[in-house]
Amino acid sequence: MSRPKDAMNRLRDPEALSFWQRTYVPEILRGLKLTAAHFFRNLLIHIFHLAGLWKDRRGAETVQYPEEVRGYSPRLRSLHRLTKRDDGSPRCVACMMCETICPARCIYIVATEHPDPNIEKRPASFDIDLGKCVFCGFCVEVCPEDAIRMDTHILNFAAYSRQEMVWDINRLLSNEPQRVEGIGEIRKVK
């Protein structure tokens, strides 16, 4: 096996190639060997699986979502949620930082007076149009109050109408953070 660097150098200089290399036939065969090896190996594993053997070896790297899921990273940006104060009201003070930074312009906030002058401002409505959201996470970064987070690990929020894709403040508040465990582990979902 030639080292990748050598191969690269030789490719740059066709004169340096030998006759057989220039025909590409051996290289083509090597390529076919590689893919065929995978094919037969996986075929074998699947056949053993059918026979109830070798269950600990996976015949495929893919995760069979939704029957299986991988443990998500805490850094994963998933469905938004609005955090709450101790009394259950939103922490959001409607400062519009997220609305301003949002590159997709999918956040719509209407501000109103908070009865407590020390809080002063609260959102009368806080809508996120997930149909537009690009999940960049800027809103989370920019929030001065830690009022919006994307740690719910909810990814399946598809809906049948555009209107249903708009999440209002109550839905966003009802989202709960997901406890992170077994990052990268594949788990069967019942």
């Binding site: 076919l32 893919t35 065929a36 094919f39 495929a60 893919t62």
Partner: protein
């Protein structure tokens, strides 16, 4: 009357084999590529909860294709747009007619050749059919009224014309060796042993011819690494403007061509239905050992042999398609004209010289 019935039966059988191969290929392509890439592949289509390794997907696909909207773009020529996939598919299908599935079958006193039709210029028939098939693609591209489609069609036509020359030139060597252009005769002649023990298959006479022919055959199917007419990541190709069953027909054409080409390779270079050492009356192993078998069993074994060989080459074609990256268009043309064509002519010359030497 009987002749008609036999002919109809042969057509039906041949079509049955071909179409089933095509159908299974659509499934095999997904599954095989999945295995090669450590994936699972299609496994979702289910009937009553059974998925059967995804084997229902071809059916689901067919239903989908048929029920989808058949869309003809504004500015397209409606009649030609509709006609194009039919032309393409038709010529792909009929080229299978001259490929022998087996030797003659003697049933109730009459012998039936296991081939739709045995033309003495069978190989030319295949080329003719394939050449006509190009019209389907050109029409599709032109009638769509879409620049990208037209570009794809032009690529398709120039690519197919370029590689048909190589195909033709390589086959010349074979015709010279076996002295016939009839495919059935060609296969029969490959039943002879070479050097006393080696099956007399074309690949042993024409190894370079085999390589060139296989490569050119892959190019003829317009699949990766020769999928420039389609070029999913760039121009989409001649069927950009197709949807529904008409698009499905182009897909079928692709797979049909794959099967036909695999059949041709098998027929020309791998002895067709010939099972090594199996003669019409039984096995004749080198060293004079003879095991006699009933003629019917021989016929069945021959057909099975052909189908297995066909399957192996289909597998090989898929393996190639899922292994190599696409050519650039100029590379494709240079390969066709500057490498394969001279080599195939060289092949003819060398074959001729050798034949002259041997027959002196």
């Amino acid at each position: 009357m009987l002749e008609w019935a036999v002919a109809a039966g042969k057509v039906a059988f041949s079509l049955f084999v071909l179409l089933n191969f095509v159908m299974v290929l659509t499934w095999a392509e997904r599954k095989q590529s999945a295995l090669m890439q450590d994936r699972i592949g299609a496994n979702r289509a289910s009937i009553l909860g059974f998925t059967l390794l995804g084997l229902f997907h071809p059916i689901a696909d067919a239903i989908k294709m048929v029920t989808k909207e058949d869309f003809v773009p504004q500015g397209a020529s409606r009649a030609l747009h509709t006609l194009a996939p039919f032309i393409a598919l038709f010529f792909a299908l009929i080229s299978f007619a001259v490929i022998p599935l087996g030797d003659e079958l003697a049933v109730g006193g009459c012998t039936i050749s296991l081939q739709v039709i045995d033309l003495n210029v069978g190989i030319l028939y295949v080329f003719a059919a394939m050449s006509l098939g190009v019209y389907g693609f050109v029409l599709a591209g032109w009638a769509s009224g879409n620049n990208f489609s037209l570009l794809g069609a032009l690529r398709a036509s120039s690519q197919m014309i370029s590689y048909e020359i190589t195909i033709g030139a390589t086959v010349v060597g074979l015709i010279m060796v076996f002295g016939t252009a009839s495919l059935q005769t060609l296969v029969r002649r490959q039943g002879d042993l070479l050097l006393g023990f080696l099956p007399g298959w074309g690949v042993f006479y024409q190894p370079l011819g085999f390589l060139l022919f296989t490569t050119a055959a892959m190019a003829e199917t317009k699949r990766a690494p020769f999928d420039l007419p389609e070029g999913e990541s760039e121009i989409i190709g001649y069927f950009t403007e197709y949807s529904g069953i008409k698009f499905g027909m182009f897909l079928m054409t692709d797979f049909t061509e794959t099967v036909v080409m695999a059949g041709l390779v098998v027929t020309l270079f791998f002895g067709g239905w010939q099972f090594p050492y199996l003669q019409p009356d039984g096995f004749h192993f080198p060293g004079a050992a003879v095991v006699s078998i009933s003629p019917l069993a021989v016929s069945i074994a021959q057909v099975m042999t052909f189908l297995v060989k066909l399957a192996v080459f289909c597998w090989l074609f898929l393996l190639v398609r899922w292994t190599f990256p696409r050519f650039r268009y100029d590379q494709l043309m240079r390969l066709g004209w500057q490498m394969m064509l001279p080599l195939s002519i060289l092949n003819v010359l060398v074959t001729g010289a050798l034949l002259l030497l041997l027959h002196r």
